[in-house]
């Protein structure tokens, strides 16, 4: 067992050209970005970035044009299941398999997600009706072998993705030097602020509680801390472009509610987890500029 249980499985995915273009979000995406910045020594919004840890989950975003292509979905599904040994967990946007022989009961999980289709994009969207799913019922996008879980807050996922070099070894021991695609910080922050706001709503009892949801406000901090100057500039441009986007507007309001000042709930939670005083001014300035809301 190497020091990182998840990297070989990422290498397995990146080894296949059909899968190499997927966008990796979630905690592991943050962890890879963090590692990349450390390797490059790049100057970031906040110099002391907390370490990033990730559990054995891949949140993988599929492009709409991929989901609209039944043949491409079939090939990708075949690679995941027949070549890489993943099994459908519950729905055909959730897959899992054993992490390895040493810990056969540990699972590495893949969730496939996607943004809401735009008008004119010819892809099926269906509301899921399973009773086990909480209301409001989610929707899935696509047809055939794979679906993507419709994620409203991922509206910018396909905009300006970031390529990060990775090196590692596949589960079969093959060394790889390749690139992984991560969401642009603008897209990443929107998703994480929405998740952090859900945590706040859970805390208030407005929605059903999910365990460990308090990781999301912390992730917002880490993402903001990792912003480079050029990324921040681009965030401002994207924020202006999406100024009138309904979901983007909601998320800006949510960011303000969570992180408006040092007494705001999101900020209190970040401080609680970090256990030390941190640079609120830099974070506040960065987040406002990145998402496009004024003081």
């Amino acid at each position: 067992m190497t020091g990182d249980p998840l990297m070989p499985h990422l290498m397995d995915i990146l080894e296949h050209p059909e899968l190499a273009g997927v966008v990796l979000g979630g905690g592991f995406g943050i962890r890879l970005k963090r590692q990349h910045l450390a390797n490059e020594g790049t100057e970031t919004l906040i110099s002391r970035i907390p370490p990033a840890r990730a559990t054995a989950d891949f949140d993988i975003f599929l492009r709409i044009d991929v989901l609209a292509n039944a043949e491409q979905c079939r090939r990708m599904g075949s690679i995941l299941q027949e070549e890489l040994g993943y099994k459908i967990r519950l729905y055909n946007w959730q897959f899992e398999k054993s992490i390895g022989e040493q810990f056969p009961d540990r699972r590495v999980k893949i969730d496939l997600l996607t943004r809401a289709p735009l008008k004119g994009e010819n892809v099926k969207v269906r509301k899921m009706r399973e009773k086990s799913l909480p209301d409001p019922k989610p929707s899935k996008v696509g047809e055939g072998a794979l679906h993507g879980f419709l994620t409203e807050e991922a509206f910018a996922i396909e905009r300006d993705p970031v390529l990060v070099p990775v090196r590692g070894v596949t589960t079969k021991g093959k060394a790889l030097n390749c690139q992984v695609t991560l969401p642009h910080p603008y897209a990443f922050l929107n998703m994480k602020v929405r998740a952090a706001h859900d945590w706040l709503r859970m805390d208030r009892g407005e929605i059903e509680r999910k365990r460990f949801a308090e990781k999301h406000p912390f992730d917002v901090y880490v993402l903001a801390a990792m912003l480079t100057e050029s990324e921040l500039d681009r965030c401002e441009e994207l924020a202006a472009e999406f100024a009138h986007h309904e979901v983007a507007q909601e998320i800006r309001a949510q960011a303000e509610e969570l992180f408006k000042d040092p007494t705001s709930p999101g900020w209190i939670e970040v401080r609680r987890q970090l256990g030390e005083e941190i640079n609120f001014e830099a974070f506040d300035d960065g987040l406002r500029r990145a998402l496009g809301y004024a003081r």
Binding site: M1, T2, G3, D4, P5, L6, M7, G27, F28, R31, R34, Q35, A38, G41, P51, A52, R53, A54, T55, A56, I99, G100, Q102, F103, D105, R106, R211, F212, A213, E214, K215, F218, Q273
Partner: protein, 413 residues
């Protein structure tokens, strides 16, 4: 909160300190918490002896609004003349009257409570009265336990469960005034916890001696004195092992079978270890060395083999080796001598661009049950789980898998 109506015998539980009383046709909600007892009981660290427990209840005046409590006879011989119950308590509410037969105990460990319940049930049958136990303190878990056996209970701290024929009263959340009557915590904390941890690695021992030898073998101290030094240490003294086993038996976590010892409730052991875990007193620094990460690991391993410096990867850093977490953090190691470690690694303190982190501790706890991983020692799965359980949300999420391994006897692998 307003009035609510419930089907009897529903018991509505509120967190904290509210009393709920229900009867078949009415529901009465007490918004103000009645004192029970209704005077401030003087703070006392030690619980009173058994003979004085009822005196405390009687002298402070049992009182609940709408309820009349009348402590009747004491030391009552059973009809069979084979035993005597501690007292008889009459409780009236409106037109309802119930008579309780009381068993008192001066301790409230799970084992003592179990015995008290059995005795109270027996007396209830013999005296044809409703059974009740009275102890210094009843926590929520104890009240649930009583309820599951259909036995009422009262304590000297203001908590109660009264199961009448046509009504139920439950009050919980009052704090324990008797700290010495609380479960013995130090067996789950610090060095004493190492014996308790042994039961997560091996669920039975043929004797106390075997337990002690197992603990010593997992301590793995390779100082110049070797294992003998460890054996002479009070950490693994025979008396300590005995005390820990006694406490675990009182908590019904371990049972004695002749000379043998067997773990029966791993989940409770795990929960107690988690609640009582505190990181060892440490001096922690980030350091930089020209040796690089790999070179540093090699030096630390060599020193371990020679017995000149103890080192083990922290639990959090070890998590990835248990298939749990992927991290960007520099590896962190416990060492028993920071000065020696800095010299060995040719390192200097450096918060920026550090190579690794060092945490100095004189406690043997983090080194217990360290596992070899190549040419490196990683933390015991128990240590890794404890550290992760007290860390951030992702770490606590990942800790659940390790906890499951430990609860199912897979900690030894």
């Amino acid at each position: 909160m307003g009035q609510a109506f419930y089907e009897f015998p529903e018991i509505l539980l509120f967190p904290g300190q509210e009393t709920m009383v229900f009867q078949e046709t009415d529901c009465i909600l007490f918004l103000e918490m009645p004192q029970f007892p209704d005077q401030e009981t003087p703070e006392s660290r030690k619980p009173p002896p058994e003979r004085d427990i009822l005196e405390r209840l009687m002298s402070e005046g049992l009182h609940l609004p709408e309820l009349r409590l009348d402590l009747k006879a004491r030391e009552i011989r059973s009809p069979s003349r084979t035993a005597s119950a501690d007292a008889e308590l009459h409780i009236e509410w409106g037109s309802n009257k119930d008579i309780f037969i009381i068993e008192c105990k001066s301790q409230n460990t799970p084992k003592v409570l179990e015995v008290a319940i059995a005795q109270a049930v027996r007396f209830g049958y013999e005296f044809k009265m409703r059974p009740m136990v009275v102890v210094p303190y009843l926590n929520e878990g104890s009240l649930d336990f009583l309820e599951s056996h259909g036995v009422s209970g009262m304590d000297l701290c203001g908590n109660c469960l009264i199961l009448g024929e046509r009504f139920v009263i439950r009050r919980d959340g009052k704090p324990n005034r008797f700290t010495s009557s609380a479960p013995i915590k130090n067996v789950f904390k610090g060095t004493s916890s190492l014996f308790a941890r042994c039961f997560l690695l091996k669920d039975r021992f043929v004797s106390h001696s075997e337990l002690r030898e197992f603990a010593i073998s997992r301590a793995g101290n390779r100082t110049q004195g070797g294992l003998r030094q460890v054996e002479e240490s009070s950490r693994f003294a025979k008396g300590t092992a005995s005390k820990v086993v006694h406490a675990l038996a009182e908590e019904l976590i371990v049972v004695r079978e002749g000379d043998g010892l067997r773990l029966v409730d791993p989940r409770r052991l795990i929960e107690n270890l988690r609640q009582n875990y505190a990181p060892p007193g440490i001096h922690r620094i980030a350091v930089k060395t020209s040796l690089g990460e790999q070179g540093s690991l090699e030096r630390l391993w060599d020193a371990h083999e020679e017995g000149t410096l103890r080192s083990v990867m922290t639990g959090l850093s070890s998590a990835s080796y248990y298939g749990l977490l992927s991290t960007t953090e520099k590896p962190a190691f416990y060492v028993n001598d920071l000065t020696a470690a800095l010299k060995l690694l040719e390192a200097r303190p450096a918060s920026a661009f550090s190579t690794l982190q060092l945490l100095e501790t004189k406690s043997g706890v983090p080194f217990f049950d360290a596992r070899q991983q190549g040419q490196m020692l990683i933390a015991s799965p128990i240590q890794a789980w404890l550290e992760m359980s007290k860390a951030g949300p992702r770490e606590r999420d990942a800790a659940r898998e390790l906890e499951s391994d430990l609860a199912n006897g897979r900690g030894a692998r």
